[in-house]
């Protein structure tokens, strides 16, 4: 998740760079088109240039970082993906798109894609209602409010690796805490353990992920709830609306932008899922919990098929890009529009 936050940040800086670039671009075009301009405009040109330089100066560190740590690795990955390469020695064995074919024809990889989709769907289906419910409850005035908020948020603060190791021990068959507690009530856990049974392993991982990331959903939803003006509640109460009606008709619709942003974060996180799977199951048993990321790591570092791993990483990149862009286009677009335009659009529709 930290990775995602970092990406968000770079995304924002990138967007800033884009807008500034487009601004200067329009300015330049205006000049270049030879439009008859007022002298004052012409005099303003050096100042514009200074502004451009200033902008460049301030964004160059970010641009350099993006170039060195994002752009360059991406280009390298694409380059590796068309070679048969063991991780050392020169890149000589050019194989074209064969690595991509190897990845896409590999059942383990296609299964991994399906697992990623299940995790995306599962986390939203579980975390959205539970998170929303908890956020609505915690938004009411009560005595131990901040204590409860902290408790809910603690799993998210824990390092994913540490949380993974703890859950791995809890879920041990026979000797694990969960099986021990269950046997006290006379219930027998699965013979091969929660993580050792291929049919259960992915759902167990999903449950642990829900435990881990529910806190983030709740915190985001609570923040969104702060933004709902209290006058609306008062007005609704005066009109005699019940608590449920207020939540359904006011809170949740006004929480829309927050929910959609959270959905985006959750989706990207699920696509890149690696740490938790690696620690809990390593992709097993019988490849029942592999994700695209765990596939590429085991192909690359374990089998030294770096060309294949690079091809898998490029495919993961493209899948993530397509999903992210279409989500932006179809779901987040409304939130990106300025508020007055949105209202106008609504009026037209009405």
């Amino acid at each position: 998740m930290i990775r995602i936050v970092a990406q968000e940040v770079t995304y924002v800086t990138g967007a800033a760079a884009e807008t500034s670039a487009s601004q200067t671009e329009t300015a330049r075009r205006a000049v270049g088109a030879g439009m008859t301009e007022k002298p004052q405009r012409r005099r303003a040109k050096p100042a514009d240039r200074r502004k451009t330089l200033e902008i460049l100066f301030f964004i160059s560190p970010a641009l350099i970082l993006i170039a060195v740590f994002m752009l360059l690795p991406i280009i390298q990955a694409v380059r590796y993906s068309v070679y048969n390469w063991k991780g050392f020695g020169p890149l000589v064995d050019f194989v074209g798109l064969k690595n991509y074919a190897r990845v896409l024809q590999n059942e383990v990889f296609t299964d991994a894609m399906i697992h990623n989709l299940i995790i995306i769907g599962g986390s939203i289906a579980l975390q959205l209602p539970i998170g929303l419910g908890i956020a609505l409850l915690l938004n009411r005035k009560m005595k131990v409010q901040s204590l409860l908020r902290t408790i809910i948020f603690v799993p998210y603060v824990l390092s994913e690796v540490i949380a993974g190791v703890i859950w791995f021990q809890l879920l041990q068959p026979q000797y694990g805490v969960i099986d021990t507690i269950m046997s006290k009530f006379g219930i027998q856990g699965p013979a091969q353990g929660w993580l050792g049974t291929p049919e259960l392993a992915l759902w167990t991982v999903l449950a642990v992920l829900t435990w881990k990331y529910l806190g983030l959903a709740v915190i985001l939803f609570l923040a969104g709830l702060q933004g709902v003006p209290s006058e609306l509640y008062e007005a609704a109460e005066i009109d005699g609306a019940s608590w449920w009606q207020i939540q359904r008709k006011i809170t949740i619709p006004l929480l829309g932008p927050t929910l959609r942003t959270w959905g985006f974060l959750s989706m990207i996180g699920s696509l890149q899922l690696f740490d938790m799977v690696w620690i809990l199951t390593g992709g097993g048993p019988a490849n029942s919990t592999t994700t695209m990321a765990s596939f590429l790591v085991s192909e690359g570092t374990k089998r030294q098929n770096f060309g294949v791993a690079a091809a898998a990483s490029v495919i993961l990149f493209i899948v993530a890009l397509i999903l992210a862009v279409s989500y932006q286009q179809f779901v987040l677009k409304r939130d990106a529009q300025p508020a007055d335009e949105r209202i106008k659009a609504k009026k037209v529709k009405a």
């Binding site: 200074r50 390593g282 490849n287």
Partner: protein, 432 residues
Amino acid sequence: MKSTSRTAKILALAATGSLLFSGCASGSSAQSDSADGTTTITWWHNSNNGEGKAYYEKVAKDFEATHEGVHIEIQAMQHEDMLTKLDAAFQSGDAPDVYMERGGGELAAHVAAGLTKDLSELASDEIGFLGDTAGGWQIDGKTYALPYSLGAAGFWYNKALFKKAGIDKAPETWQELLDASTKLKDAGITPISVGAGDKWPAAHYWYYAAVRECAEQTLADSVTNLDFSDQCFVKAGEDVDQLIKAEPFNAGFLSTPAQSGPTSASGLPATGKVAMELAGHWEPGVMQGLTEDGKGLGDDTGWFSFPAIEGGAGNPEAQLGGGDAWAVAQDAPDEAVEFAKYMLSEKVQRGFAELDMGLPTNPKAKDAVADPALASMIDARDKAPYFQLYFDTAFGASIGGAMNDEIALLFAGKSDAQKIVDASQNAADLEK
């Protein structure tokens, strides 16, 4: 104003750039030959704690004392860390002068990339006394590394639990192994632990079954020609399947890790919860590390060789295993070769064996192994008519990985004997 901001920008760029690149530059290793006539040898090893680390420091000091102007720069790392760093070092072309090689396909890839020095001439004496032992580190008749520790895999078992279940002698045939596991189960003891979560511990069963089923020549040919067409490989899968169907393994073995923690495949026998485990020569050390008193099973530790399989074409005394060898980087100074040879000397190997750091390969140092279970394994190793490297090492990571994955699927009941052969052959065909 304009020029100031531009200068500032250039300065900022330069500063950022130099920061980045100096970060890269400091990563490269020290020069091998410096101007003042001293030669520096970089040496990476994986004895990163306790007596082993101190012993290797002493070995380096002793060598420096007899070789004037030589300085040895030691980097002791945890094993997995070392493998990762070695891969990175090979990628950057900045390998240490003396480092560990596990032989087989991995070494072959390093040799093909021109990273490893041919030691055939330079260390002919050592290669002479190593004899067959060096086989796993030879390619086309040339020796590229000197094995300093070589161990066979076999069953480590708890003598007390075997007695409790009424088993008086260690199983010698496949059927006896199955019978022993039934007896243990009847006595309420889990017979075998296996870390199928890490895949390779499960794969060792198939490797060994193949060693028992396949004739010596078939094995040798399959390694050189990457060919698994002989029916003996399918039989190996059937044997392993028979064992899996008898359900001798610990609960949750599909997600059990090999060595980490008390619920791992090594931890369960170490704490007396499981009667035996198929593992390599490292096992007593691992078990000791997983018990509170640091003794592992202590006097109850026993070792028996992988049982014979009836009708198999392989010699039942042949052993499967692996070891570590000192290799010298292609561009390392001559003193590095001297140092690698020095570490194979009787003196160094004796101290190495006395500290239980591994199983010495120098014949003169063998009697220095104190642990009786390890000593019995050395006997089996040296009696073996031939020695097969672990398949994932022998065939290299790519084929070995595909093989291990499919064997792990067999353990999960999601594959069969033929599919293991097919998966291995497919991966092998991509290497040809």
